[in-house]
Symmetry: C3
Subunit: 205 residues, 3 copies
C-alpha cells in the first residue's frame, strides 16, 4: 500500500462525507444521502476514466473504495450535529480534497498518454465533476457556475504540476507544491472574495 493509495482512499472518504453533509433535498432519507455521497465521491474520477476509456474504474475493481464511501456517510450521520458546527473544518477538508484529486487525476491522465493540456483538464474534472453531477441531479446550479474561484484553482494547480514536472523536480515535490498552490488560491479567493472577470454579456445579479 503506497502513500498515494492511502491518500486516495482517504480523499474518497472525505468527499463522500462532505457530499452527504452538503446536499439537503427536503426530507432526504438514508438512501438519498448515501446516493448523493456516492456520486460526489466517485463522479469526477469515473467521468475522467470513461472519457479516457481506461477500464476498469478504480471503485469497481477495488471494493475498498465502496467501503470508504459508506464509512464517510456513516460518520456524516453519526456526527452530524458536531460536523455542522465545524463548517470551517469542512471547507478545509473539501479544499484538501480538490487539491489532492486534481493532481492525482492529472497524473493518471498523463499516464494514459494524453497531451498535457488534456491532462490538466482531466485533473480539474476529477476534482470538481462529482460535485457538478450531484448539483445537477438535485436541481441546483453547480458551484463552478457560481461567482467564486473554485475549478480555476484546480486548473492552475494542474498546470503548475505539469510545469514542475518539466524542470524536472522529483514527483512528490511537484505534487506537494502544486497541491499547496491550489489550497493557497482557494483560501485567498474565499478570504478576499476574489472572483474571475465576468464574461461579456453576463447579467449582473
Amino acid at each position: 500500500m503506497t502513500i498515494q493509495y492511502i491518500l486516495e482512499l482517504a480523499g474518497t472518504f472525505f468527499f463522500s462525507l462532505s457530499g452527504a453533509l452538503a446536499s439537503k433535498p427536503r426530507e432526504q432519507d438514508w438512501f438519498g444521502a448515501t446516493f448523493i455521497g456516492f456520486i460526489t465521491a466517485i463522479g469526477g474520477g469515473s467521468l475522467r476514466d470513461v472519457l479516457l476509456g481506461s477500464y476498469p474504474l478504480v471503485w469497481i475493481s477495488d471494493i475498498r473504495f465502496l467501503y470508504a464511501i459508506l464509512a464517510g456517510i456513516l460518520v456524516a450521520s453519526l456526527l452530524y450535529p458536531a460536523l455542522i458546527k465545524l463548517r470551517r473544518t469542512f471547507f478545509l477538508f473539501d479544499t484538501l480534497g480538490i487539491a489532492f484529486f486534481t493532481i492525482l487525476g492529472t497524473e493518471k491522465a498523463l499516464r494514459a498518454g494524453v497531451a498535457p493540456e488534456i491532462a490538466a483538464m482531466m485533473g480539474m474534472f476529477t476534482a470538481v465533476m462529482g460535485g457538478v453531477i450531484r448539483d445537477t441531479l438535485t436541481n441546483e446550479v453547480p458551484i463552478i457556475f457560481r461567482k467564486e474561484i473554485y475549478a480555476t484553482a484546480c486548473l492552475a494547480g494542474a498546470v503548475s504540476y505539469l510545469l514542475l514536472n518539466a524542470i524536472p523536480l522529483p514527483r512528490p515535490a511537484s505534487f506537494l507544491i502544486a497541491s499547496a498552490l491550489i489550497i493557497l488560491i482557494r483560501l485567498l479567493a474565499v478570504k478576499y472574495r476574489l472572483s474571475l472577470p465576468r464574461f461579456p454579456g453576463a447579467e449582473k445579479e
Copy 2:
C-alpha cells in the same frame, strides 16, 4: 431465443411505454415523447455497461431493442386515454420492470467479474437510472430522492439474489424469489406509505 431474452425485450417495451406516459413537459411533441421513452428504457442498462466498460451496449448491437422501444411509444400514444385510466396497472408494470431489470443487471455485472457489492449496486442502477436521467433532463427531482421506498427495494432484491446464489439454489429459482421480494417490498411500501428514516439534518417538508 431464451426466456430471459424475451423478458428483456418485453421489459424494454414496458419501460419505454411508461416513460412516454409518465413525463409530461408542456406541449411535448412526438419527438420529445419518443426521446423520453427511449432514455427511460435504455438509460439504466447503458450507464451500467459504460461504467463496466462492457461493449457493445445491447441496444446498439441488437436492433430489436430499438423497435421494442418504438413499439412502446406507439402503444402509449394510441391507447393513451385507456392507459391513463389504468394507472394501477401501470404501477404494476413499472414494479415488474424494476424487479426484473434489477436482477438481470445484477447477473450481468456478476458475469463481468465484479464483486457482489458492486453487482448489487449495478443491478439497482439498471432499474432506476433511466428514470433518474429522464427526470434530470426534464428538470424534475428524481424519484429516488423523494420520500418513498423505490431504489431501496431494488437493492434489497439484488442482495437477496446474491445470497440465494450462495446457497446454491438453481438460478431461475433465485431469480424468481428475489424479483418477488422487490415487488413485495414495493407494494407494501406504497400501500402502507412506508419510508426510510430521514438522514440527520434533512428538513421536514
Copy 3:
C-alpha cells in the same frame, strides 16, 4: 488534412462560439463561459463515442480540437457586442453546424459497424446532445423538448443520407444533399413556425 477534417475543426469552433454566446447564467465568469462552450462543442460527439465504445475520443487524441474550442470562446468574448447583433448569422452558423455534425456522426457510427437505424440516431445525438447537456447543467429545459423542429430535422437528414448511400451516390454528393435537407427543414420550420404534432396528453401551454 482532408476537407472533412478541416470542416470538423471549423464546426467545433462554431459550436464553442455559439455555446459561449448562448448560455447566460447570472454573473457568468470566464471559467463558466469556457466550460459551457467546451461542453457544447464536444458533448454530442463524446456521448456518441462513449456509447459506441470507440476510443480514443477525437478531442482527447488530437489537441487541435481543444484549441479550436478555446479560439471560439476568445472570439465570442472579443466580438461580443458585434456578434450579438448578428443573431441571424448565428442562427445560420448553428444550422450549418448541426447539419454537418449530424452527417459526420452518422458516418462515424456506420464505420463503427452499427445498424443504419442506430447510425441515424447517433448522427442526431452528435449534433444535439452537446446542447442538451449544456441546458441540463444550467437548469434550462433542453431545446429538443421545446416546441420546435430541431432534432427532427437532424434525424430526417441522417435517414436521407443512409438512403442516398444505398443508391449508390458518391459519398460527397450524399453528404451535401443530406446536409442541405437538414438546413432546409430547419429554415422552413423557423420561418413558418412549423412544429410536430403534440403527443397525446401533453398540456397546452
